[in-house]
Symmetry: none
Subunit: 205 residues, 4 copies
DNA sequence: TATTAAACGAGACGGTACGTCACGTCTTTGC
DNA sequence: GCAAAGACGTGACGTACCGTCTCGTTTAATA
């Protein structure tokens, strides 16, 4: 009998209808509501209905500016993308990458970005624009720091230059797998895995 | 969740009777309808309601045996995949795994099950039962053949016994990554990647 | 529809075993469960499903002996009818009828029969067999004692013989009205009402 | 948990848009469908599902305006009440009441209202909101005209003021009894019965 | 005494209806 | 003329019973 998804907006900051111009408050209220819902309820709690309720916005207003769920979701994700993990490089490829990955996992766990990214992957499976964005824009962009890490390691001879892309894909695939199956809670496994990806103890360079 | 109307009669004089048996026709009709719907409409057209309609089955019958959409999907997936990806083992771990993976990719590409599986992953990001099924039931079950492959390789000394699970997760992570970003079209990359995963040229055994 | 029992090729033996006898335990368990459910949950909690569960009986067993919900109701009611109030006749029609009615009300209030009867009336509004049972079987049967009361009063000159049926219907109508609107809690009103029905103070005899 | 308006004291009125108005077509389509179903199928064929189907309305629309089956019944009944018989008062209580009752019976027989009312009584036996509506809202409202008839008769000395309520309950009880047992076909009995209720020949005034 | 048909418990079956939720479109009203 | 509020038809959700239908077991009358 309760309103479980997206509470009523209650007293405080009720916006009032702004009239004829596109309302900046409306836009940011919608984006904020969408982000908060993703944080609190995850992708399942992310519905246009709930966002409208939370933002005190009309559903048609949302549909007018973000014609599909994917559009709204992408807008939220893009608005959040400023935070990035940065790691001090020590020259030890495996150690650096382990620390970088630990940072990434905790970032995914603690920030809306984790839920948002899971949502993006989910949305992409519908086959629309989200897929293109995920593959052609998001992936290369997000991978750049790690690619550089590998590149510098290869440059100083710590890694064959050939398998760089293989390592990259194995590393990102493993991370996705863990994120998408909600198993980011044991970063102790990382040294072993990443050691293996990078060439492993007792295995060649 | 309780039995609110008319308690079960508990212990005492219970006579025993097996009751009616599960109807094989009903089960296969449901599975067939589910499969056909997946083929025709994809994950979006896959609803319990639609399956029941198509199978001329009652909804409760479906819920009795497949408590969630994910369960039903899993049953369809399993019934289909076992018919498809089977590999003759040669004793060469990398070669065997490459051929198994090629089979998996072509199955995902050519068969509705691929799209359907992407749907399941998307569904799981909502955090409900689909996630549990995906992680606790689907993954272990589907990985069994590959796990055995590794286990047998380790048994004959072709692989250290330690990193078996690491290899497994790297392998499945890579495959998911390719599936979810719709990049299953270049299986030529597989020997290189799988070689690296299994210990790579000039590494390990 | 099949005529599976008919066929008997005349002449020969065509003997049929009589099979097991109707189980007395089953019958009484079902009736007891039905009564208890009516007491505890009222008409709303009274479903064949729930009765079967409570009685540890199979649904077909119930349907075999009580083909409709109304039949089962009626059986419950009749099984309880031995408790029906019997009033010592004093010769004062109004006083006797008041005491009889008080007994009826408390019977309706305290016994499952009240709930059962309300359920039967409800069921009868669907227009099926329940209506026939209610009108043609239940009503005349239940009214017999009161009809006799009136008849004896008329016989001794305490009531015109003409309006007997009118009085009966007024009396039963009033009781139904009170029962169906759940207002059996003020039997103090009975002397006034019944006095009026029977001819009232300062009126008639 | 209340505070649904936010009330903001400060500025002017803090008025909020009222939103779209209730659709008159939807409302009347639902009521018409409900009435027709009652006429054609009776209480048994009356389900929210069927009404929605027939009215080409959504179930949520129905539940929005008529939260329970009882409410919808009541609405159907009330929507029909304009046809209710109005009787020219002659000053002869019995004759007036007989004519009023004849009108009521033919109204019950010929209009959906009869079936609707029977359904309401049935529903009320479940003990939910329908019972409260029937007893506290429907009964007093429907009885008002007859109560007035008695009151005016008492005022002009044609009836003792005391037994007014008794007469009322006898009258309504008798009518219910006839309706609920589907015996509205012999209105010739009415003069006798109502004469008796109002004081009978040779009794009272 | 052995056979056999019926009644039993259990419960699966195809269905209907329930009441809720979210979808995306539409209309009304106020700024 | 945009935006809020929100009603609308649609349709899936998961649950409760309906009444019918097998199942194997138990039981008692017949032969």
């Amino acid at each position: 009998m309760d309103n479980q998804t997206g509470d009523a907006p209650e007293g405080a900051g009720r916006r009032v209808s702004s009239g004829a111009k596109r309302s900046v408050e409306a836009e940011s209220a919608v984006l904020a509501a969408a982000r908060d819902l993703l944080v609190e309820k995850g992708w399942a709690g992310f519905s246009i209905e709930a966002v409208a309720r939370r933002a005190s916005a009309g559903k048609p207003t949302i549909y007018r500016w973000w014609p599909s769920k994917a559009d709204l979701f992408l807008a939220v994700y893009i608005a959040e993308k400023d935070d990035v993990v940065v790691v001090q490089e020590t020259g030890d490829l495996v150690a650096d990458l382990v620390r970088y990955t630990e940072g990434l996992w905790s970032f995914w766990r603690d920030h809306p970005a984790g839920a948002a990214f899971r949502g993006l992957v989910a949305e992409a499976q519908g086959g629309g624009a989200a897929l293109d964005i995920l593959r052609d824009k998001f992936l290369p962009e997000r991978l750049a720091p790690v690619r550089d890490l590998f590149a510098r390691a290869a440059a100083r001879g710590a890694l064959d230059v050939g398998p760089t892309d293989i390592c990259l894909e194995l590393w990102i695939g493993f991370n996705w797998l863990r994120l998408l199956t909600d198993r980011l809670s044991d970063p102790e496994c990382l040294p072993g895995v990443i050691g293996w990806v990078c060439g492993g103890p007792g295995r060649g360079r």
